[in-house]
């Protein structure tokens, strides 16, 4: 790696005589402008460095050690990572989130796409108001949303349970071990449909009108237009929402940590990998292992996001 980059650098520094590249000197004004640009960029890089790179480096460093309550700290290399890849709790959490990803994300994004297309078609009256209504759940903080749904799901006194009781039916238990994941999917869908819809809708607005006119003249109906023109045109926006959803799914934290108070026997401390890392660090007092789990989780997210992006791009190139 170092040799090839060095060659490139030499190539630039010693131009061949036949094609002389004159090094253009920056004028004073240009130099000032360049300094200004760096000054404007500096806050980002400082925050990026202090808030992301340094903590990341530090937790990577921590993950290479083992601290025992009795016996102190010792360097253990990659042992924490080896433990994590065979840790049934961690793997179960990742598996659970895999299921979440496969079921919840398509439902949520399908719904968001449908709503975005419906709004874009201009057939619904009061589009602006509808847009806001769909978006409102996203404006509700995740913690508040989870508590609200926790109340709605309530086994004895929740409104849904009471409704069932009123009709003499036995109410479903939304917080039982077998159903709680589905209940969480519902909360997350409710929260993020509007958000994803707004991204897709914004992308739809940039599809050139002439294209649609041409399609209409060629006799394409609304569905044909949506399927063959609009959706391919906003592919990058859809990919963006997919990637965001993958990251969001694996980082699920608020929902399990808040619902645990209502359904402790359905939600264990390792319910999601992120929640597991938190409990490892602050309940088990094992910061080193928690750092390793968090790092590994980051790798899983990066890998899945990358694979998805690659496949989508390839599919895009093929069509």
């Amino acid at each position: 790696m170092s040799t090839s980059s060095a060659r490139i650098r030499t190539g630039a520094a010693h131009p061949t005589p036949r094609a002389p590249v004159r090094r253009r000197r920056l004028s004073a004004a240009e130099r000032r402008r360049a300094t200004a640009a760096y000054l404007f960029l500096a806050p980002f890089f400082i925050v990026f460095l202090v808030m992301l790179v340094v903590p990341l480096g530090y937790s990577g460093y921590l993950s290479l050690f083992e601290t025992k309550l009795v016996g102190g700290t010792a360097f253990t290399g990659l042992e924490n990572y080896l433990t994590a890849v065979t840790d049934p709790t961690f793997l179960a959490g990742v598996g659970r989130m895999g299921l979440f990803l496969v079921v919840q994300v398509p439902v949520m994004l399908g719904l968001a796409l449908f709503l975005a297309l419906a709004l874009d078609s201009g057939r619904a009256r009061g589009g602006g108001v509808l847009r806001l209504v769909y978006f409102v759940p996203y404006a509700v903080p995740g913690v508040v949303a989870t508590m609200m749904w926790g109340y709605l799901y309530g086994r004895d006194f929740g409104p849904i349970a009471q409704l069932f009781d009123a009709f003499g039916a036995s109410p479903p238990d939304f917080l039982a071990p077998g159903t709680v994941l589905g209940s969480m999917m519902n909360i997350v869908t409710w929260e993020y449909v509007g958000y994803n819809m707004v991204i897709m809708y914004a992308a739809l607005r940039t599809v050139p009108g002439e294209l649609m006119e041409a399609a209409a003249i060629d006799g394409a109906g609304a569905f044909r237009q949506a399927w063959s023109i609009k959706i391919p045109a906003i592919r990058p926006a859809i990919v963006l929402t997919v990637i965001f959803s993958i990251i969001g799914t694996f980082q699920l934290f608020n929902e399990p940590s808040l619902l645990q108070a209502l359904a402790p026997s359905a939600i264990s401390n390792g319910f999601t990998p992120n929640f597991y890392a938190y409990n490892l660090a602050f309940v088990n007092q094992d910061v080193n292992y928690a750092a390793a789990v968090a790092f590994l989780l980051g790798l899983v997210i990066a890998a899945i996001s990358y694979i998805v992006q690659l496949r989508v791009n390839r599919a895009g190139a093929a069509s």
Binding site: L69, T73, P264, S265, N284
Partner: protein, 449 residues
């Protein structure tokens, strides 16, 4: 490339050494404080300008602190509430780890004291004169804060357990006196369930503290810590299994509910009469008055049912102390503050009457202005008197593990889950035991028989 790899390795090796050195430092941090402190030293420290930080979740404790400052105007105390329960301990541990911003005096529940002594985070108060205070507290409470010759904290409040019940619901089922033995309790549970539809009480899926309190009452010793590297873990002992088998039977016959406690559904259940009673602690009478006000006058308090007739034993659930962190720069002033708040007559009475903390101090427990109070919520019953008497029946010899957080979280994941699923609690206790043993070994402890 080679160069970077080597320097990275050096960096890592270097930091490993630093880590070890730091660990070694913290091991020895208590040594310098071992010298005894004379009253002249104390006098001098209390008359020196000092700034103390006190982390506590007790509401309005500023009032007691104000009394302290009236007496020692040179000492400025900053009272901070950084959260309650796990959030509080997380912040204390983080501050200790970062070696910055840790308070001088800190609130700690009894069951968490060993988890701080194992990391040498608490100051031994014995050289400061704390040993003299032993006689001022109920015997079992003093055992909770001291070990061998060391005193780790000053007791503040406690939670001896009793049986709070709804007299109206029990009367509807024809029960006029509270069950005296656990056998009576099981019979009463069946009667209450069939006559009124209520559960005699709830057996929570997420409250190891309550269940450990019930084990405590039965004389079970699930945990032990020798103060060094040795721990005792016996959560699946035959005695412990016997107690849980009793509850398993009630659970399976649907005579007790298995809801999570301290959430809205639980409060609704107390309010609506879903639960006809609650096996709880001395702090609960005040707690109930705040949460289920509309059932005022219907409640009564009694001692816990006993394992054999005529026995008189109880366990403890909750309560906390004030400890001084080893990192403090003002150990004498910090100790005096912790002592004063929990030992001064005016302050301890105020804690009992204004903050409604159930006292650990024998002076208050014997004070008729406290015990003589007739409580309307309990139909005029002298609840404080009842719990004062119960306080003397708590087994003194009960210990904790130096990793209660882990033990409790595993309880919820393993035993709590089995309770919720109405599964086999004996098997669950075995798994809990295995999980605790593994953790103890991983953390470098040795297991004592």
């Amino acid at each position: 490339m080679n160069l970077t790899r080597r320097s990275a390795a050096q960096l890592l090796a270097g930091s490993a050494v630093t880590g070890l050195a730091l660990a070694a430092c913290s091991d020895g941090s208590n040594n310098e404080t071992a010298a005894p402190v004379s009253s002249a030293d104390a006098e001098k420290a209390l008359n020196t300008e000092t700034q103390l930080t006190y982390w506590t979740w007790v509401p309005d404790i500023d009032k007691e602190v104000a009394l302290f400052q009236e007496k020692y105007p040179k000492i400025k105390v900053k009272v901070e509430n950084v959260g309650q329960g796990l959030a509080h301990y997380q912040k204390v541990r983080t501050a200790l780890k970062s070696k910055e911003g840790a308070p001088d005096v800190v609130q700690i529940e009894y069951q968490y004291i060993p988890s701080f002594t194992v990391t040498d985070s608490l100051l031994d108060l014995a050289p400061l004169g704390a040993t003299d205070l032993a006689g001022d507290y109920v015997g079992w409470v003093w055992e909770q804060v001291s070990h061998d010759d060391a005193v780790w904290a000053i007791p503040q409040d406690t939670g001896p357990m009793g049986n709070l019940y709804r007299s109206d619901i029990l009367e509807r089922a024809g029960i006029t006196t509270p069950p005296e033995t656990w056998d009576d309790y099981a019979t009463a549970a069946a009667t209450v369930r069939s006559a009124t539809g209520s559960y005699i009480s709830n057996f929570p899926t997420n409250d190891p503290a309550q269940i450990v309190g019930l084990l405590w009452q039965a004389g079970v010793k699930p945990f032990g810590y020798d103060g060094g590297q040795g721990v005792t873990i016996a959560v699946n002992s035959p005695d412990a299994k016997k107690v849980l088998a009793y509850w398993q039977d009630l659970i399976q016959r649907d005579l007790v509910s298995v809801d999570a406690d301290f959430n809205d559904a639980f409060y609704q259940g107390l309010n609506s009469g879903k639960y006809a009673g609650w096996l709880t602690a001395a702090w609960a009478p005040v707690f109930l008055q705040g949460t289920v006000e509309k059932t005022k006058g219907l409640w009564r308090a009694a001692p816990l049912p006993q394992w054999s007739a005529g026995q008189n034993a109880s366990g403890n659930w909750g309560g906390s102390s004030n400890a001084v962190l080893a990192t403090t720069g003002n150990r004498i002033a910090a100790y005096e503050l912790a002592k004063w708040i929990n030992n001064d007559d005016a302050s301890t009475l105020m804690l009992a009457q204004e903050q409604s903390l159930f006292p650990a101090s024998t002076a208050v427990l014997e004070d008729t202005t406290f015990t003589g109070q007739a409580v309307d919520f309990f139909g005029g019953q002298q609840v404080n008197k009842l719990f004062s008497d119960i306080s003397n029946t708590v087994d003194t010899d009960f210990q904790w593990l130096p990793f209660t957080d882990y033990a409790y979280s595993q309880f919820n994941d393993i035993v709590g889950k089995a309770i919720g699923a109405k599964g086999d609690l004996s098997v669950a206790l075995d798994s809990w035991q295995a999980a605790l043993e593994k953790y103890a070994k991983d953390q470098g402890f040795s297991l004592n028989g």
